[in-house]
Symmetry: C2
């Protein structure tokens, strides 16, 4: 590259890692002399309201967003729309709610003919489409369905072998065999390896004896256990008698099918004690229970034996060499629940954003002197609350669609690289998306003021039901640590010359960029074209992640010497969590940019580009301290980013109606009177609801 010519911006930004300091200096000087054409003047906010609005057709955008399984979602919606008797009322007692939820599930499976179990393994994308739609109708129902098919059904199919599939498939699919997934104990949730329930093999009777050794080992929060379940997949430490002495060997955590209620009488079986976990903050349509086992005997064949088996004479065999590998394989098969939660959480976010934005367009309050009041979405503060949220909803949509497709591919190919990739990606997206949705539900309620507080307008139940998405299937703080751990592993492998998983591959390049100094010239570019250049945005996201990764690795190495690896990890924990979030944000942005490229309709593409720019710049501004601290952006550039993010919120506001219409949620699914698609009806329906 010669400094005498005027290179284009893209060339300039690539391959800076291998140049010499002198070359770099000359390159920087050449930029001073020949600023690239994309370096515009600062945008003039004073004129922003006169700018042309992006022209977007909600129908066309919607057809790009809709997954290939929209048909089955519409069948779900149509079924519940035709059965108002199955709609969950606003006030319902816990026990009635559980029965209603059971009737909803039975109706869906037996009347509407939705049979999810086959899809769990063979067409997961379709399965996730079903569960998202069902969750939109009622989140308790979505979770009850998930417990039955992903957790109980999924554990039988994924951890068991053909004999289990043959015996249980039909009963699970047609709901005769309602079941539970009994992993969590009172004292152990995140630390699954710490569970204390034991399953001791009795070679005399060829049975396992399931025992709860103390109160802390009571299985807790077990869905379907309090009322409806007949079986439970119970996770317990497998104890095998040693042949030569009177001792037991702990073979690690395994899963067992334990019948808990009589198939005919529905009575609790002997040795099983079940109590009701009682009211929860939300999801009260799901009957969570607590299970204690007093030496419950089950036949040897009830061990789900895909990753480890016990022979008639008490010998242990496994295709995997160590306890840790078997444990990882067992938990690995359960990643589908996490994938489904991330995807469904976006569905919840869509509903909330739709209601809040439609109401904000309708609601008027205050205005210029002697002029009509203006809509509350015309206020910059309301745009600030809702437009980056709308942009994130779109970003998460594409990221989670990407995730479910990757998961489906993994289920087909069992490619090892893909398995690792899906694990980390699902942990990261589940954590990031559900935390974001949880916060957003509160913001939506607050943004809709008093009318957002009416239960009929849904924010309360959405928030209460969704809240636990942050905890179950992996506590978000724990999952982010898995992402950070994976990043550090990849980082080490990079320097050992190993391969890097697809999702991580950007790190190889950007780590080099990071290790060179920030470019003092581009740090000052503040033109709109530059700030909206996906390359600038991606570079900034990647730079941040690389920097956090490099510094985390250095700090960990340092602290490990004095504190040991556990202590060092804890000392750097906030840093590691930030790293994980930064990485996930990068992956989300990458997916969004790719999705825009693929969009066939030019108008939709322009709208999505606008939304994506808001997503990216809002996040860069949110962490501007980091960028400023290393002079990645100069002070004036930071200001320009802030200004442009506000301006993009304003522009997205102008097409907000179309953007939420494109989510294609029928009024009978959103249900909130203040969120009607046709704004004229909103207040009228609301007053009628109250009795006028």
């Amino acid at each position: 590259m010669s400094s005498a010519t005027t290179p284009n911006t893209k060339e300039l930004n690539n391959h800076v890692d291998d140049e010499q300091p002198t070359t770099r200096r000359i390159r920087h000087l050449s930029l001073h002399l020949n600023p690239p054409s994309t370096h515009n003047n600062q945008i003039e906010l004073g004129a922003c309201s006169s700018r042309a609005k992006v022209d977007v057709n909600a129908g066309q955008l919607s057809s790009y967003l809709r997954g290939k399984h929209r048909d089955v979602q519409e069948r779900v919606f149509a079924y519940f729309n035709s059965r108002p008797d199955l709609q969950t009322p606003i006030e319902i007692l816990k026990d009635d709610y559980r029965e209603l939820c059971m009737r909803q599930l039975v109706g869906l499976v037996r009347e509407a003919g939705i049979r999810p179990l086959g899809y769990v393994v063979e067409d997961p994308v379709k399965y996730f489409a079903i569960i998202e739609a069902v969750g939109s109708v009622d989140m308790s129902l979505g979770i009850k369905l998930g417990v039955q098919y992903s957790l109980w059904g999924g554990s039988v199919l994924n951890l068991g072998t053909k004999k289990h599939r043959d015996k249980y498939f039909e009963g699970i699919d047609n709901l005769e065999y309602l079941g539970c997934f009994a992993m969590t104990e009172l004292h152990h949730g995140s630390n699954v390896q710490g569970i204390q329930t034991i399953a001791t093999f009795d070679p005399v009777t060829d049975e396992f004896i399931i025992t709860t050794p103390n109160d802390g080992a009571i299985k807790w929060w077990i869905g379907n256990a309090a009322v409806h379940g007949k079986f439970a997949t119970v996770f317990a430490k497998l104890m095998l008698p040693e042949h030569d002495k009177n001792a037991l060997s702990d073979m690690g955590v395994h899963a067992f099918i334990v019948p808990i209620r009589d198939l005919k009488t529905h009575k609790t079986l002997p040795g099983v004690e079940i109590n009701d976990c009682g009211h929860k903050v939300g999801l009260n349509g799901v009957d969570n229970g607590a299970l204690r086992f007093r030496d419950v005997r089950i036949p040897r064949e009830n061990l789900l034996n895909r990753f480890g088996d016990v022979s008639r004479d008490g010998k242990y065999t496994s295709p995997l060499p160590t306890i840790n590998k078997r444990f990882a394989a067992t938990l690995g098969e359960l990643v589908g629940g996490r994938v489904g939660l991330a995807y469904s959480s976006v569905g919840v976010l869509k509903i909330a954003a739709t209601i809040a934005i439609r109401y904000s367009l309708l609601r008027q309050q205050f205005g210029p002197p002697k002029q009509p009041e203006i809509s509350i979405l015309d206020y910059q503060s309301q745009q600030h609350k809702l437009m980056p949220m709308l942009a994130s909803t779109y970003a998460f949509h594409f990221a989670t669609v990407h995730l479910i497709e990757k998961y489906a591919q993994m289920k087909k190919t069992h490619d090892e690289q893909l398995v690792a990739d899906v694990h980390a990606l699902s942990a990261g997206l589940k954590s990031y998306v559900t935390s974001y949705t949880a916060k957003s539900l509160s913001i939506c309620r607050e943004a809709c003021g008093g009318h957002g507080y009416a239960a009929v307008n849904r924010f309360g139940s959405l928030r209460n039901d969704h809240d636990i998405f942050q905890t179950f299937e992996g506590d978000n703080t724990v999952l982010l640590q898995q992402v950070a751990g994976d990043l550090l592993k990849q980082y080490q492998e990079k320097f050992r010359g190993g391969t890097i998983a697809a999702t991580w591959s950007y790190l190889r390049e950007s780590m080099n960029t990071y290790l060179s100094q920030p470019n003092p010239v581009t740090a000052r570019w503040e033109g709109e074209d530059h700030l909206r250049d996906p390359k600038f945005q991606l570079d900034a996201f990647r730079y941040r992640t690389s920097r956090l990764l490099q510094s985390a690795a250095v700090r960990l190495r340092k602290h490990t010497k004095t504190l040991g690896s556990f202590g060092a990890w804890n000392r750097c924990l906030n840093h590691l969590l930030t790293l994980a979030e930064s990485h996930i944000e990068t992956v989300i942005l990458e997916n969004f940019i790719e999705a825009i490229k693929r969009c066939p309709d030019a108008n939709s593409r322009a709208a999505l580009k606008l939304v994506c720019d808001l997503y990216a710049l809002n996040l860069i501004w949110s962490d501007i301290g980091t960028y400023r601290n290393v002079d990645y952006v100069a002070p004036n550039k930071a200001k320009a980013i802030h200004k442009l993010a506000d301006y993009l919120s304003f522009q997205v506001k102008n097409i907000a109606k179309e953007l939420v219409d494109a989510f294609d949620l029928p009024d009978h699914v959103t249900r909130a009177p203040i969120g009607k698609q046709s704004p004229g009806e909103a207040y009228a329906e609301y007053t009628q609801f109250v009795g006028f």
Copy 2:
């Protein structure tokens, strides 16, 4: 000041505004040569766990925190502890809950002998102590009490005259006259001047005719209206017939006492239509209703006539000259509700923080290899979630105690300056504190994982009930704008040489500091003593506010030219909201620092200092981008602030048990099994609750 001597730090930081550039340069150089003695080395985090723990006695700290009306709070707690039949169960239908809540209120007033009405005007500090305690028992009850005494009672006492007091006082106080406060309409909440209900004077019958002209003017969300209210203070535009023509004059919004139900039969009175607003997200013990008036006639004396009266012949008289002044005076009398909400919101935060922190000390999960598991509060991430929150709780405690005392003083003296000060301060604190508490309740639930999702552990109901604190008595976003508006007014007055309200007075000095350049030497000081110096912290907070204020004023002036004042305000809205928050944070920090100085016990003082430092440095770090952008802190100082904030979280964790014990909340008030004061009982009570 001579550059040849070595001045101490305090001298150096004062009076930098009036020196010459050369003097400043020399001063800076002298600092290079003679670093002040407080400039320590960076703290060594590697050694932090070995540092001495601050020695604090929860009892002594508690006695400093407890207000002078702790006795009446203990009476409230003791009464409800003695009446388990009055405790709100976890599951209760809306209609039953409303009746229970009414019984709770009647019991409190008639059995426990708590008579709040007299305190509303004469001893507001005692009144707020009662309402905080009652809200801790059940937030619905707190709000129902507030509707009866602050809103209905307060409007009669504060907007009416002696005749109203004579007629209504006893009935309100003894609950015979249950009443409502009917201000909000379906279409108008924040914009009270936009309400459309009218009260037309009929000179023939000497009555007012109350009319709801359209559906949008239906009074909405009116507490006590759906079931229990006999009266309502109705806000309506007063219409007076003009003498010489057949027209009506709009005299602006006034308040009227309107009977809505028969005192004996409790039947709804003719012309009044009442519907039930139905389920809310929370506070379902309060019976909110919607009221439509069809030409309801009330006697002339029912006009609450303190700020405006109508004579027998239809002439209007007022001690205040304009509609706007009368409106301001009317709303001004209602500021007590806002004060009470800010104060009670801190009470809610105390409960949530207590439960979450106690559980986090008890709960163990994971640990170093082959060692016992550690408590989850030992994780840096959990400290990060909960310790700045605990610090904020303390900060808010002192700030709101200051507010209620100022309010009480205002009620006595009616000093104009004090009135203005209390108005802005209550708007700011109500907004800031309730938003913070709302977010914290979600964080607490999440931080307690699955067990935080059990309804019995309270986070759900606390969040649902508290949620609307952000909206009622003034939408938080609207209130923050009032603070910003007031700041801008004070700013203009400063340059006109006028007086500045007490709360604002720091601006005069810090604006001068701000207008000089940041000091490039102190910007690099990163020693712990410097960062923990209240002067550094206050300077940083004040600098930020001053800068936001100055730049907001400049931007508003610029945009007003092209957009008009309404448009300009909206264009700068996010900026103005940040300004208001920054100011409130400054006021809170000032109060905290003052409260520490006043604390008589040295150990308590040391603990409070630690907590205050965490509060201050965590906030500086949260907005580090702003400080970095103007080089108020150098990059390494930014890092040192971040490190120290993490370290202070760790140190506060070491005394977290004592800090929450000092809130002095009995177990029968916190109620959550996982939040028992004696940790040994927590799990046992929880398993017993579920039935084991």
